[in-house]
Subunit: 466 residues, 2 copies
């Protein structure tokens, strides 16, 4: 009821909000029951955009048109920061970036964030965080928009700069800088920049709840980063590609929304994972669709959404995981008709209850109004102590209370195990607990993923870490 009320309150604000004529703003009552669709404003005519045009053509500088019947993106419209080919903007930006005197070299993780930002996963963020956004993310896990509403934003999305370069930029009074890759090729321009201090200790403590050495993201992207942060509006020259044979899976939120609309989805449930999928997962996802059908939805679609950015060294590589996900669909373990497999381009923080909010929020922007959360999401072992870094239940609890996620339906992960009576995987029933078999060895290997057990001769399990 609270969610429903919050939704309706949000919707009345939405309808009254000025400047919304640049996007088709659509909201869906989250649950229960079938989609309650309400079109708040239809302004595509003013944009000069025709229905059915390609993604590129439908993109305005600041917003992407959103199809009816999907949850509206945070901030009311999907951010798109890729310069359009039309009108010469892309060529002009490329020329400018090549000539800008100040050039910031992006590391691997920085480039992944450029990708994330450019496609609007972090909507309504328009670029790397300025200080007021950084502080709100650190202290409140949420940012207040110009309309006064809070959107969730739990991890800082920031770009660092060293002291010498900071001084040079400020000495020139530069307001625009080029972002370049490891071979000095321009990727983007950051404008109206703001430079502020990068207090690494405070950032790490407030994001991870520990400052212990050995946090993978910290070692990869913070420890050796510059002592200043530079925020600003981002404009990316062209869509980010990796040329690793997996780009076809890297669907943007706009592309995902188009796909869900094409399939006439009236509910989208997202499943984030960073490890191989297995039978327990498959059971859960199949069951979730069944429950949504029982609620009255006609066509719930699963977004099976492995994380594709930076992961720690002992996680299964993305290429292997994608092969395995393909198999799941090929073998019919999941129904391809109601499943979309795509890559979520974010790097992994392993920041538990803080990060799970980001994982959920980004999926709202991709059109998901249901999010499946398991035990210890985004968790890992404590880097220096013999215990888990986070309480296994905190992720689910924090997610269910997080500001800015009121519109999202949280589906707690049900624990699956092998039912020795039924002789198949099933959800654990505490009233006859002795019938269920949990295998500790396998459990350990999946400990950082889900509290779920593989017990099957299905060929899928042989792919795990193979």
């Amino acid at each position: 009821m609270a969610t429903q009320a919050a939704f309706l309150a949000g919707f009345s604000q939405l309808a009254a909000q000025p400047g919304r004529d640049r996007a088709v703003a659509v909201a869906v009552a989250p649950a229960p029951g079938p989609a309650r669709v309400a079109v708040a404003a239809v302004g595509s005519a003013k944009l000069g955009v025709k229905a059915g045009t390609s993604r590129t053509a439908a993109v305005a500088r600041l917003g992407v048109r959103c199809r009816a019947s999907l949850i509206e993106p945070d901030g009311g419209r999907l951010v798109d920061l890729v310069a359009p080919e039309e009108g010469g903007r892309r060529a002009a930006l490329r020329r400018e970036a090549a000539e800008l005197p100040h050039r910031l070299r992006l590391g691997r993780v920085d480039k992944e964030w450029v990708h994330v930002l450019s496609e609007g996963w972090a909507s309504p963020l328009q670029g790397f965080m300025r200080e007021h956004e950084f502080l709100q993310a650190l202290h409140f896990n949420a940012i207040r928009g110009q309309d006064g509403r809070m959107v969730n934003m739990s991890v800082p999305i920031v770009l660092s700069v060293g002291d010498a370069q900071r001084r040079a930029i400020q000495a020139d009074g530069a307001t625009r800088v080029a972002l370049v890759d490891e071979r000095d090729r321009p990727i983007a321009v950051l404008s109206d920049i703001e430079i502020y201090k990068h207090n690494k200790e405070e950032r790490v403590a407030r994001t991870w709840g520990t400052t212990a050495p050995g946090l993978p993201y910290v070692e990869e992207a913070i420890t050796n980063a510059g002592d200043w942060l530079v925020g600003g509006d981002l404009e990316v020259i062209e869509p980010i590609k990796y040329n690793d044979g997996l780009d076809q899976y890297r669907l943007s939120p706009a592309q995902l929304r188009e796909e869900f609309a094409r399939r006439n989805a009236d509910a989208v449930f997202a499943f984030q994972l960073r490890n191989p999928v297995h039978n327990g997962h498959a059971l859960l996802m199949t069951d979730t669709r069944k429950r949504l059908l029982e609620m009255g939805y006609k066509n719930p679609v699963l977004l099976l959404h492995p994380l594709g950015g930076f992961t720690k060294a002992d996680d299964v590589p993305l290429s292997w995981r994608m092969k395995q996900h393909e198999k799941v669909l090929e073998e019919g373990v999941l129904n391809p008709e109601s499943t979309v497999v795509a890559i979520f381009p974010s790097p992994m923080h392993y920041a538990g209850p803080t990060e799970v909010q980001w994982h959920a929020k980004a999926r709202i922007n991709a059109g998901a109004n249901f999010y499946i959360v398991g035990r210890d999401p985004a968790g890992m072992s404590h880097p220096t102590e013999k215990r888990d870094l986070y309480d296994a239940d905190h992720g689910k609890k924090v997610l269910s209370m997080a500001p800015g996620l009121e519109r999202l339906n949280i589906l707690p992960f049900k624990v699956a195990a092998y039912d020795t009576k039924q002789k198949k995987m099933d959800f654990f029933d505490p009233s006859r607990k002795d019938d269920f078999l949990f295998i500790s060895g396998t459990k350990v290997s999946f400990h950082n993923c889900w509290d779920v057990v593989i017990f099957s001769t299905n060929p899928l399990s042989s792919l795990v870490k193979s």
Copy 2:
């Protein structure tokens, strides 16, 4: 405008809220202009409370009647957790507490929190935090009430228990425990208790943004505390007293509201401090009143509100500070007609931007709708590095963006210095900066308080640290 809009939105929710007949709910438009008073519900008749009765008589179990024209307390009514003498409740609670098998011994800081909670400074909290409140405080610095609205709550107010006692309580299935002082005398009963893990590292990291050893509150109240936390509803046997000759200054939020109403205050501006007051402060407070009069308020009253709970060893002791505050009023540096001096019973965290929110939120509950914030509020030196723990501007910035504080008007502290042209203390004017004298020696001694300089032969300054 945003504040005004947020206020009005809040008010419409208020008027529609059920169950509000237990308190006179009153809201005042924050600024600019004179009080816009609107009585949302008058329910004193249902409470059996007559206007003008004493504090005790006016107190219901869960709420204190609030006078017209003051900002409404967080959650709509002021919490009061002291058992009423009437009806035998106090005697019954005392008997029960004496007989309860499980007794938790309170340390100095615990007892200060019992005091804080019992008088409703932390309204709408009804006792030590349960886990859902603790997690929201840690992650969001705000807690969502049953009505869906967020109230600010940035520091965890929690009670720890050791493992042996935790096991004993849980083995008995006890739901009520007695809280006792260092001589085993019952102070309160905690009921409907919930016990959950006390992850000290995570609590410290998320509250202070560092886990460096040497944080005063951590050493005093966390490092040696139990590994479990116990939350529940608090009922205190009788008002907390210290018998140190200063109890007459320890006015509860209800008493302060009565005092402001008696003086017909139409604006209350709060000044939190933990160090001696000086001429720079006095200039600021006098100037603030002038500005409020210019805004159209007829009778702005200053709440000069030194913190009275735990402070670190090198801060000036409370007894000295109170003597000095008395002098300020005696000598007419501040006008006694428009100034209320009282003690804020909270312990000090020295948690900078996190703690300043608590300092501001608690003053809303005492009736203040304006809060003066300085440089580096609640800041200190980093315990192990040669730098300030917090960026001096973060406190003000975080406070101005904090969820749940939208109704409060934040007044940034203006820097005062000695104007050698005018030969008096005045606000620093950067356009003629050479006319102003900052004395570094004195500045250093006040570094952790305010970026302001004493330059005066006023006898007040001789009291400092004397």
